[in-house]
Amino acid sequence: MEWYAFDTWIVLTGALSAGACALVGSFLVLRRMSMMGDAISHAVLPGLAVAFLITGARSSWVMFAGAAAIGLLTAVGTEWLHRKGRMDEGASMGIVFTTFFALGLVLIARAADRVDLDPECVLYGALELTPLDTVALALPFFGEADVPRAFLVLLAVFVLNLVAVAVFFKELRLVCFDPALAATLGFGAKRVHYGLMTLVAVTTVASFEAVGSILVIAMLIVPAATARLLTDRLSTLLLLAVLLAFAAAAVGHFAAITVPVWFGFADTSTAGTMAFVTGLFFLGAAGYASLRRRLQTRSTPIATL
């Protein structure tokens, strides 16, 4: 196996995307709204398509904004169906996101001759291609350097999420734990909710090019759930989730270019492997947690005697 600068960029980009997802995803998991990540990430398709149809370019701010807006609309629509329509929350999500997704497919199909937007790219990304699209950047000390555009975008989103979580840590914790108390203390649970959903939508859209919209779900949920098995502290949980996400990116890419070779294949999709690796992490953590629990229950009676 040979490792190029190319691979480093892939790992860094994947890690930032995964880390950004893990930060906001932790709160989704704690609020028991994990599937919202799933819904939003599917639903951004028509947003991307419409914005793409309007601007004709693939990496514009319009596209970003359009997709993020649809993502937020999914959250609002789900909430509305759940409250006004008295539907079960899961069903509301399912209705909204599948409808948006279908709309996106029709839009893309209708405009297939004019645009080159591959729904598959939206679904499972093209992390391997991100280093090809670079921006020349003048850096102090390093001089001029070619930095992948996706890396910069994801760096910005990662920092945004980091700052948002740090600044609103108190509010997020309160609203996730006890929304009723939050309301009586004057913190609008709704405002915090939609703020979080906006972050999820922005993160999803920024990541779709790198890891694809479906694999965003893995990064939103699995590192947070894994960390949940290992700690009882919110701050530790967030830190662990981000570290696990970084690790998944590194291990995932490494596995993607080495493991298939053992079986006589070429390499495979890094994003898919990353998602799969987070699953392995989760399995490991689940095994560790149950082992620890078993040891504890075995040792407790002796301790009390």
Binding site: R32, G37, T268
Partner: protein, 449 residues
């Protein structure tokens, strides 16, 4: 121009009448899929497991790819549909087992368990797919049709498979109808009655997996989720009876499939799966707005009517009690805004609005600057409302043990709910307490409010 039009209308007729062999196959299969999806989806929806379809659908992908690779490695072509569907079924089943395992063996909750399974399985599928694409001697490109469905490419064998599977799923669902209904309605009760809840849940999930797998070919992984949720949710807007809901969901699902695939055949570049889902979504939107049981329009109208009625009753009762306190002649005494405002927490605006409404119903004379006067009709109505209210309150006190479930303060006549005998008894109690005897209106049994 005219030639084009006649050509189009000819196509239109051909499609509508299912004259083309291929159209016939596609329309019938999607309609069948809609029917089966509606029935199974109804159970899932009421069991609050709507998104299980999501997890299952995503989990089928690695199954399909793995089955494909296995067959290629064994020297086959790889694109042997029944074998691929078997792989999909295995993947979906494994996904179900994984969700249940995570939920029971760890502290991770339901939603996250589904999210983990769907994303990790799908990720694994994508990784496998990346390898399969570069397998020598065959093309894995056909597997992509499982993502979005490839309705147009259906052949007789596909249709037969879909039809048989749909019928089998329907038969099993109807066979276990009673048990599944019990499971959806009250799991704890079902368990206490000795029903094998786990087994029943397993059947339900197996049915969902079955529908998902046969639907892959027609509408694809992501849109099959819609067929399991949307028709059932639409049906729920029209009825609260379980049996009707199943029938309606099947009908709406079937109609979505039929109409959607027909439209898709008529329009160029409209993928059938997506159009079917959009049709189902349109039906849902109409159901949500106009549904006869839970529809928004109907509920909104009911709520508005109720609010107006309660407001009118509040106004009349407040007016009555004011007049009663002053021992005044209702035909000549003005009910003052200021007195009313103290009695109710309403704003002046709301008070005026209520009075105007009452004026439109001829319950009060034209509101004046200081207040308003009850009309004859208004006085009679106020008397009736107040009497009913007081009887209800007495009923709550006398029959507090059974009260809450019976109280319907909005009922026009208390006799309809409680029966004339009970009302006469309450009147007797009230007369005894208040000493009013044969007064037209019994005194209030508790402080006026």
């Amino acid at each position: 121009m005219t030639g084009g039009e006649s050509e189009f209308s000819e196509i239109f007729v051909r499609v509508l009448l299912l004259r083309d062999y291929n159209t016939r196959l596609v329309v019938l299969s999607t309609a069948l899929l809609g029917i089966a999806g509606g029935v199974v989806g109804s159970f899932l929806l009421l069991r609050k497991r709507a998104l299980m379809g999501d997890a299952i659908a995503h989990a089928t992908f690695p199954g399909v790819v793995a089955a494909f690779m296995l067959l290629v490695l064994l020297g086959g072509d790889g694109r042997f549909l029944p074998w691929l569907l078997l792989g999909a079924l295995a993947g979906g089943a494994l996904g179900c087992v994984a969700v249940v395992w995570i939920r029971t063996a760890t502290r991770i909750k339901d939603d996250a368990a589904m999210g983990i399974v769907l994303s990790v399985f799908f990720g694994g599928g994508v990784a496998l797919f990346g390898m399969a694409q570069r397998m020598p001697g065959t093309s894995a490109a056909g597997l992509k049709s499982f993502l979005y469905g490839n309705t147009a490419a259906m052949v007789w064998g596909d249709f037969l498979l879909l039809a048989v599977s749909a019928v089998v799923v329907l038969v099993i669902a109807l066979f276990f109808f009673k048990e599944l209904r019990l499971l959806c309605f009250d799991e704890a009760f079902a368990r206490a009655q000795g029903w094998p809840v786990r087994f029943l849940d397993g059947i339900l999930l197996a049915l969902a997996a079955g529908i998902t797998v046969v639907g892959l070919q027609a509408v694809g992984i992501i849109l099959i989720i819609a067929m399991l949720i949307i028709p059932a949710a639409s049906a729920r807007q029209w009825t609260h009876r379980f049996g009707w809901m199943l029938i309606l969901a099947a009908a709406l699902g079937g109609a979505s499939g039929w109409v959607g695939s027909t439209v898709s055949a008529l329009l160029p570049k409209a993928p059938a799966g997506a159009v079917i889902v959009l049709t189902a979504a349109a039906i849902f939107l109409v159901s949500l707005l106009a549904g006869s049981d839970r529809g928004l329009a109907r509920r909104g109208w009911r709520a508005r009517k109720l609010a107006q009625r309660v407001e009118r009753q509040h106004l009349l009762r407040a007016a009555f009690e004011l007049l009663e306190e002053q021992n005044a002649d209702p035909r000549t005494t003005l009910v003052r805004w200021s007195d009313l405002a103290r009695r109710r927490s309403w704003t002046a605006h709301r008070l005026r609005r209520a009075a105007t409404r009452a004026y439109n119903d001829a319950l009060v004379n034209k509101p004046e600057a200081d207040g308003f006067q009850l009309s004859d009709r208004g006085w009679r109505e106020a008397t009736r409302v107040t009497r009913n209210h007081r009887l209800w309150e007495l009923y709550l006190i006398e029959r507090a043990d059974i009260a809450p479930s019976h109280v319907d303060r909005d009922a026009d006549t208390i006799e309809h709910v409680l029966g004339p005998d009970l009302v006469r008894e309450l009147e007797r109690v009230m007369a005894r307490q208040g000493g009013g005897g044969g007064a037209p209106l019994p005194p209030s049994p508790h402080p006026l409010s």
